[in-house]
């Protein structure tokens, strides 16, 4: 009998810990960011799996740090161009950063499983050029795991990425679609 109750306690503890809700600061070292550029001449995609993000469930603060050299292109030449001082200048600006806040924090219950729509406003710094932006995201709470999905458009010229001529000016869209997926865990 004693054994049974002990087992029950241990079991319930396990069950409880499995369903502990994420509170405080969540960290994601498992974030995927991709961007997609479409023109009638060419479609270009690049992927980055090394992004770090934090999400504070109490304050709504959200931060992304993006190692720019981790974007992988299908074509090596494109990757070279992208990294070069003419475009993203990744040696000088190895990281891009987004600092923002969830503005509708009240409508997201991190203690209850479900899917929530979030509105995030903040500043995006690419190549030393900071621009305010507002993005919509979907936050999914499942047990102690929180995931964030978002899609946004970024105007390259806003961050000093301009193409004056040649192939890049015709083959790269002025506005690229950026897709984000973060998997957060509590620290």
């Amino acid at each position: 009998m004693k054994k049974v109750s002990l087992t029950a306690i241990v079991l319930s503890l396990f069950v409880l810990s499995a369903f502990t809700t994420p509170v405080g600061k969540l960290v994601s070292k498992d974030t995927h960011i991709s961007f997609f550029s479409h023109t009638s001449l060419e479609d270009i995609t690049a992927n980055n799996y090394k992004v770090v993000s934090t999400l504070d469930t109490a304050s709504g603060d959200i931060v992304y740090s993006v190692p720019m050299q981790s974007f992988e292109f299908e074509k090596a030449l494109m990757q070279k161009h992208y990294n070069s001082s003419k475009f993203l200048d990744t040696k000088k600006h190895p990281k891009a950063k987004f600092i923002g806040k969830i503005t509708n924090l009240g409508s997201i219950d991190f203690s209850k499983g479900g899917t929530y729509n979030a509105i995030i406003t903040g500043d995006l710094d690419i190549k030393g050029e900071t621009k305010p932006m507002e993005v919509k995201a979907t936050i999914t709470v499942k047990g102690n795991q929180v995931t964030l999905d978002s899609k946004m458009n970024i105007v390259l010229a806003d961050h000093g990425v301009t193409f004056s001529g040649g192939k890049p000016s015709t083959n790269i869209a002025k506005e690229v679609e950026v897709t984000v997926k973060s998997v957060y865990i509590s620290q």
């Binding site: 600061k25 960290v27 070292k29 498992d30 974030t31 995927h32 992927n47 799996y49 090394k50 770090v52 993000s53 934090t54 931060v63 740090s65 190692p67 720019m68 050299q69 981790s70 074509k75 090596a76 030449l77 990757q79 070279k80 992208y82 990294n83 070069s84 001082s85 200048d89 990744t90 040696k91 190895p94 990281k95 950063k97 600092i99 997926k181 998997v183």
Partner: protein
């Protein structure tokens, strides 16, 4: 005589066009650098390179990062702190000394993933890969960021 001259000119022109378009074609379809088959630039321990970055990130970036993204190829030796997997199903091995504030996060590839199979936490290994960014304390994240290496494989294990 005139005909011969024209023939030569046409011949040279054709060769030139073929040559130029060949080079352009190669440039456009140039393969990615094969990291594992390229010579290592620096052999270093995870603690040493983290300390270099924490001491002065600007100097370290100057030393390790390259303008067109073909940054230095490193062989980093360190203790395995954690092993995980990213959203691309690539294995991620973090090399980090027990008293270090940051480590070296090594991402493997579809080809090299399997080599991490028998690794154990605390084991000392040497990983070769290309550096993408350095370590440092980020005030906005309020945490230390690890050095990032990708296209990794294990070149030595104890």
């Amino acid at each position: 005589m005139k005909k011969k001259k024209i023939k030569i000119i046409v011949g040279v022109l054709v060769l030139l066009i073929v040559g130029v378009s060949g080079v352009a074609y190669y440039m456009f379809n140039m393969p990615h650098r094969n990291i594992q088959e390229t010579n290592t630039d620096f052999s270093i321990s995870s603690s040493e390179i983290v300390n270099e970055y924490l001491a002065d990130a600007t100097i370290a970036n100057e030393k390790y990062l390259e303008e067109e993204g073909n940054s230095k190829i490193l062989a980093v030796t360190g203790k395995i702190f954690s092993i995980s997997e990213d959203q691309n199903n690539q294995k991620v091995v973090l090399l980090k000394g027990p008293s270090d504030k940051a480590g070296v996060s090594c991402t493997f590839t579809a080809v090299t993933n399997a080599h991490t199979k028998d690794l154990k936490l605390g084991q000392t290994i040497t990983v070769k890969g290309v550096i993408r960014s350095g370590a440092g304390f980020d005030e906005d994240l309020d945490l230390y960021e690890d050095i990032i290496m990708e296209k990794c494989d294990i070149i030595n294990q104890k």
